[in-house]
């Protein structure tokens, strides 16, 4: 029973960051019809920015977080303008392959710059965990969960409550009509990609201090993000948020009660099962994003 409760708490903590990863990816797909193969690399970059800010520059932990997120935002905007904007109108395969190329360049560049030795990001939270009966949670994990939920909430509000969000939703429904109505679709695409990228960087920046930071950390994260997005339905933000928690649940209980070796296989088995059974995702496909 105690073990079960502990697994449930672990699921909640893990699910928050999974959801954050999934939301960023699904947003970009939903609005731009681009499968972002740089998502994992941006996650890695976010973690390294956090490391640079805290460990190398000596910045305050809570100040470093927005710095890392802003870095992801800027890098995302650059990638969009340099690589995606010229390819507008090309088929989805071409953009996917270009994104794979960009992902390889980004990941190899972090290895080239920082070397293979994993880096640790110091955190200001006490080492002793919070004890809730038989269950313990570290303060850092609680902060990460809170941060992830806050960012997801902010993204949701941005899409549904702001003018930019309105334009994004318009571009999602019909880019041509939106352009005729005076929406700067090119600008919206850049903003969307930058926003999605900043969420990936935020996930990396939040998880960097929990785990360690190393160049290959994004590879598995990216594949998991795909699983989450497929579960929720491509382009469905709410679906991705729920999908994040479902994947965490499957992994945690798969590892705890079935076999720890197949922990990472859960996500992919879910993808295959979902696509065979319900190709549009577990939740009805969104009529509009949000």
């Amino acid at each position: 029973m105690d073990q079960l409760l502990q697994h449930l708490v672990n699921t909640l903590i893990l699910g928050g960051t999974y959801a954050l990863l999934g939301v960023g990816l699904t947003l970009i797909f939903g609005i731009m019809n681009v499968v972002n193969f740089t998502h994992g690399a941006l996650y890695t970059v976010g973690a390294y920015l956090m490391y640079l800010a805290v460990a190398a520059l000596g910045l305050n932990f809570f100040l470093a977080l927005p710095v890392a997120i802003a870095g992801g935002l800027a890098l995302g905007a650059v990638i969009e303008v340099l690589l995606l904007r010229p390819l507008r109108g090309q088929d989805i395969d071409t953009t996917m392959l270009v994104m794979i190329g960009a992902g390889i360049v980004l990941q190899s560049s972090t290895l080239w710059t920082f070397g293979g030795v994993a880096k640790a990001v110091p955190s200001p939270f006490p080492q002793a965990p919070l004890q809730l009966g038989p269950v313990s949670v570290s303060w850092l994990s609680l902060f990460v969960l809170a941060g992830a939920l806050l960012l997801i909430g902010l993204t949701y509000a941005l899409i549904n409550r702001t003018k930019l969000g309105l334009a994004m939703r318009a571009a999602f429904q019909d880019a041509d009509t939106a352009a005729l109505m005076g929406v700067d679709v090119r600008g919206i695409y850049t903003a969307t990609f930058a926003l999605g990228s900043s969420l990936a960087a935020a996930a990396g920046a939040l998880l960097g201090p929990v785990y360690v930071v190393f160049p290959q950390m994004g590879q598995l994260a990216e594949l998991k993000a795909f699983a989450i997005v497929i579960m929720g339905g491509l382009g469905n933000v709410t679906g991705a948020a729920i999908g994040g928690f479902l994947l965490a649940l499957a992994e945690e209980f798969g590892a705890g009660y079935v076999s720890s070796g197949y922990r990472d296989a859960m996500g992919f088995l879910i993808i295959i099962a979902v696509l065979l059974w319900r190709p549009t995702g577990l939740f009805a496909k969104a009529e509009r994003i949000g």
Partner: protein, 382 residues
Amino acid sequence: MSSRFTLTTAIVLALAATGALADSIRIGVNEPLTGAFAASGTYVVNGAKIAADEINAKGGVLGKKLELVIEDNKSNPTEAAAVAEKLITSDKTPVMMGAWGSSLTLAVMPKLVDYETPMLVETSSSGKITTSGNPFVFRISPPSALEAENFAPMVSRLGIKKVDFLVLNNDFGRGAATDFGKMLKEKGVQVGLVETMDQAAQDMSAQLAKLKASDSDTIMITSAVDQLVLLFKQMAALGLKKRVITTGGSQNPDQIIAQAGAAAEGTMHLTTFLPWLPEKTPNPKATEYFIGEWKKRGFAFAGVTESFRGYDGIRAIAQAIEKAGSAEPAAITKAFWSVDFTGLNGPIRFAKSGPAGKESGQSRPDVYIIEIKDGRVVQPTL
């Protein structure tokens, strides 16, 4: 005809790169410089460079300079075998050092037989390496059975009653669980769970929740340093407070202290080198020289528990070449049996191991237990 032009260019470039230098003796170094074990492999290579520079400053071996041909095996067994083949056939190295991990070394071993070229194994700990009848393997790191044997007298003094294992899902981890498990059962200690993890795994909270719920008093962990840092942090987060003993010699306590902080407090580690207490090592003068040189080159002190093996490895190879009197693979293989000097962690002298007629060489280094206390490395009083 751009295709054929590029092909020719590639071949010309590759040929140009393989031209051998005649006035030096080449030693192949096959280590993981990228991938999961990049950090450790890089340390070993840096240690090897110190040894080569030291020997060359004193005039080299047989009047020739030593030249290290360093290749990256990408932490991957298939790549390690390919690198060995390249070193032997293309770079014409008569002797090699490698390949860090047990799975990597085991992948290289058939190539040694194919090309009759000796290799000094500096880090790997799987028993299979020196018991499979490969007469071209000479190992200076302890196999896990030897480590377990050295640890045996400490078991009762630590008051261990029941042990769970958490090990890497490979030769290194599984080998350690088997060998230590056998030794513990012989000493009347119970063995409980054996949990495994992938070398790339980051979140082990599910395995740890299981270990937390078990009734054992000690967890023995076998993994490389990066994963140990994660494990200690996650154990602290779970409130898992049991005695922890790590094995394998790749723990790097200083990195653990720096990165895991208070979460590493009280953990114990079996290591084969005592750089924190140079006066207690078998060869204090050499240890001090090595640590001094390491610091002078600007490397982090934390790396010495890995890099000393690269240093000792190259020194052993140099002595074998010296005794062989020539840089021929067959002569060097024979000469390894007469290598005899005091390395940084005990005498380096190869004893026969494995099936008769095809024995591998195994040196017997010292094994120490250390504890992390108040953020420092100490020897526990037993």
